[in-house]
Point group: D2
């Protein structure tokens, strides 16, 4: 079927490629003409403006917007709405906050325009592996667009079938799911990323414990400010972290795609020295924590994982200074210099 | 090659089956004669006592002990040592604390007996999938036993090769790894399980947030003791948790074997009502936390995951009572009854 | 000076009493005539409606609103604004979200009405001890009202002077502080309560560890699902929690008012059996966590304390069920029944 | 009564001064003759060796050991035991691990020597304020020494009496408590310090949130790697942290001695720039966490506070590098440089 794509960055371009590979007809636009030209060369129909793009679509139209969340998405959706007609559909495939979907969907509904939000996971590997799609919006609209989602998703063969599931593979088994009304797709994607933060932290903390398993062989300092290591004989391992990540990939309970990637990173650079350790966070982890708080659901692991990222960027500095100042006040403890 | 197995529970029996399937010659013993008989029927050589078992082995002997950690392992290793000779090897494949390995290995070394500790992951699926093996001990001894480990491990084909790895697959790529000297295998397995706790908690917390995404549709209570939900319109989703776990299995960043199992559990029982939510912990998560503390390595996610398990069993009760008592004291706040 | 009080609950009434005791002239209103009558009998000027109250005040008027946050405050402020004139001031002394202050202050400024937000701490003890006041609003307006704040606050004598502070005691040393523009008072009060959650959790967790210090004397279960206590001989104390809270009140680093209250509660009921342990939270702890998240400031202790409260109310149930389900799937581990 | 003090550092010397001020007869020893001489000048009886010290005491003797925990205490106690007789008592007032007390007490009991462990809190302020004493050992021995403890403790007047307590003030109300048998004193002191870590972290995190309340006025970066601040208008406060710490000292729910000290530190240096933020930990916080883990008691706040200290010293570095490496692998996300 016909689909338009606005925003031809890495993600947008790769979506178009998967769609075309499945036989869909893609009309594309980007503010950078070179991106449009590149995909035109691969079989897409280029366009010069949003108006031009809309003009090249048959009704009811479907336009997939794949631009940065926040202002850019707001802008493109607003302008698109000017050109579209009742019955057309805008699909937001970016990382929008699900609350914006709810507001946006309601505003567009007043003009008869449908709105579908799609949380998309898969990263730089998605073109090859397919993308996992979490979808929000009206059921019949999402249903009509299913062939597009099926083309983008990995398909049922990407994982062994879950025991107990029978019959024709459900969409969830193919890698896409209509989660609920407006915002539900991005809500589920948000929590997906919140979980991702927790998983990543679990691996990272564990590997760090392994990496420091030789602390007992270091010269032990003995002063009133340092907790002595009671049994240095139990911490004398010099472990090969890259090999450990590798061995866990096969047969262990903690095998995962994130572990596969970790093994890749460690195979390239066993001590990861090219990373400074300042870890970014891009919104969804924060929003997940806020959702947990507002729901009153305890999510201490996910929140702690988020806090660790903030800490990695030095944002705990004043708190730490406060602790040292208190210790100085009550115990006369001077700070120890870095080793 | 020849190998003896002591302890023919589910794990021990399945190890024997994988070993025999690879052509190894297994001599087996268990205090339960029926277990011995069962495996004899499958091709193993049965024995009637540890002495009998040892007598049936050619030197240098290798005896794999697969009995519960702690007292039982201590007992079997001790008795075996009475019957073995210098040059023989005892392999502890259970869940021993790595510190016990260090002590035990040292004691056996005085008698010329080698000791190898093997952390084994794979659970009830290991017979089919193979087991991930984390191994500690002397390098040449471990090397000599490698054909056994290779038979038990999943093999290189169990996962796609990590980019950047070339040549003959290393043992880690086949699913077994010599991690270091005595205790190193169980140390790595311990941290493996600590990570497992963190991963599990991340999924569990995230799914719980999804499950409570409809809290805005419930009647909102308004009293001074309840934080009101400022925006109930953002929490009106009725999500299909089983389908969400399923869709994440394909193409998403958080796909993993634990997620596969979660999807299986939810496909069987979407609300998991047959579980009371009292979560056990079996030692390794605690030991991992202790190792982090002794190393001075921050592991707040792993420790918080552990604390959540303790809390699930009601062990936070007095702490919670204390909080309510404080609130009563300073604010005259009465506790609210359960809904 | 003259001041009006709207809302004569425990807090409002006690504020009026402290104000009158300091010689201020109080005009009071409440929807419950009995409350008005009671304070009239103590020297306040009663009124029958907001209009009546406003009519009894000389310009520029100052009206302190002490009603529940959210809808009730919104309503009273809105109605008051109808009756007030440019140059008058509304003081919100409740537990409003500071963001509401910012919005409200801006709306009232359009009509020339000043808005002052006052975070008030002191609980049921405030009438006697005085209240700690954290104040937001325009500097000159707050300055003009200072005699009122000074009457409500505990005064400089309530604590020993901080070393290094000299001269006339600053307002902060008397127990009230102009923190910044609109919302700053409630912002600081919000974080104050966030800290309170953390402090309370620290005491509660510690006391719980003490209470369970005799776990080594209990019969130890030995099964594969329970982490055995390696050294029961180190956990054989039967500690007197009430006495411990008491002894810490004098000379220890952790003495505090919250500890005083804890000692009181434990003196009344050493095992706190009358508390179910379902701990409420009333908003500020959540908002503090959200502020930390939005600022990108790591606050893992405060967030974990909040999560513990959620957990105390059973909101971790589905997460715990999920953990048990995973354990069943990978290890065949059945849940253990409650003891 | 007569008491000997071994170890005349700051703590030991100040204990002697409080004891002498209360009329007790002190015999003192330190490896540094100058310390002995100083206290002799204040009225103590000096000695030249442990043997000399013991020789100057009437039976049954009581010797208070106030030297660093671990090796030094072990050494002094061992040598003292050579010189003492059955019926004498050794008091360990240092920061010993309570498990060492249990072992030591048992060994000394074989020779008829009593052992009393005393956890001492009060820091550099103790001489003036008195020390809070948590005591373990045999009841009659502790009872006999009570006049000494009473002299060191702050006394009943140091805090208002807890409502509900009547009659002659109990020892706990005077600031010393016999907690239980050998080790109980240091066990309670250990948890005391664990709580201290949690309290300190709560204040530090909260103050850090306040300090960053102006983040909305900074230029906002907008890129895919940074979570944008949705509402900068809510984060435009420039708060006076020192004044806030001060105002909370009077009338607020979170007033405490630690807050008093924090206010002092901030009055001296409002931005604490002389502190690097590398926070030490000296053992008890770690042991408290281990006790919680071994008891199976959830202490997520105390453990998280501990982890934050480890993190402040950079021990999370490899974990953070791992997170950045994973993000690079799945999303092609480059790390952002420090601002």
């Amino acid at each position: 079927m016909q689909i338009a794509m606005v925003g031809l960055g890495r993600m947008g371009s790769n979506l178009v490629r998967r769609l075309m590979a499945a036989g869909h007809d893609c009309v594309v636009f980007d503010t950078d003409p070179a991106s449009v030209e590149a995909l035109s060369g691969e079989g897409a129909t280029g366009s010069e403006s949003l108006a031009d793009l809309v003009g090249k679509l048959a009704q009811p139209r479907a336009v997939w917007v794949m631009v940065p969340a926040g202002g850019p998405t707001e802008h493109v959706v607003g302008e698109l709405a000017e050109h579209l007609d009742a019955g057309d559909t805008i699909i937001d495939g970016g990382n929008s906050y699900y609350r914006d979907d709810i507001v946006r969907s309601s505003a567009l509904a007043d003009r008869g325009i449908h709105y579908v939000d799609v949380g998309t996971s898969g990263g730089v590997w998605g073109r090859e592996r397919g993308y996992c799609l979490m979808i929000g919006g009206e059921g019949d609209v999402v249903g009509r667009l299913s062939p597009l989602f099926a083309a983008i998703a990995p398909g049922a063969g990407a994982a062994e079938r879950t025991p107990g599931r029978t019959g024709e593979p459900a969409p969830a088994e193919q890698g896409f799911l209509h989660c609920g009304p407006a915002g539900a797709g991005h809500f589920v994607k948000m929590v997906h990323n919140g979980i991702e933060y927790g998983l990543m932290a679990a691996y990272a903390e564990g590997l760090n414990i392994l990496r420091n398993a030789g602390i007992g062989t270091a010269q032990q300092q003995a002063d009133a400010e340092t907790a002595p290591l009671a049994h240095p004989e139990f911490y004398r391992y010099d472990l090969d972290i890259a090999a450990i990540a590798e061995v866990w990939r096969r047969g262990s309970v903690i095998s995962s795609w994130l572990l596969d990637l970790t093994a890749t990173a460690l195979a390239e650079s066993p001590d990861l020295h090219e990373y400074s350790g300042r870890v970014s966070d891009s919104g969804e982890g924060r929003w997940t924590a806020v959702a947990a708080i507002e729901e009153g659901v305890p999510a201490p692991v996910l929140m702690t994982a988020l806090a660790s990222r903030f800490g990695s960027r030095g944002l705990d500095h004043f708190a730490s200074q406060t602790l040292s100042a208190m210790r100085q006040q009550f115990g006369g403890h001077a700070e120890k210099p870095a080793e």
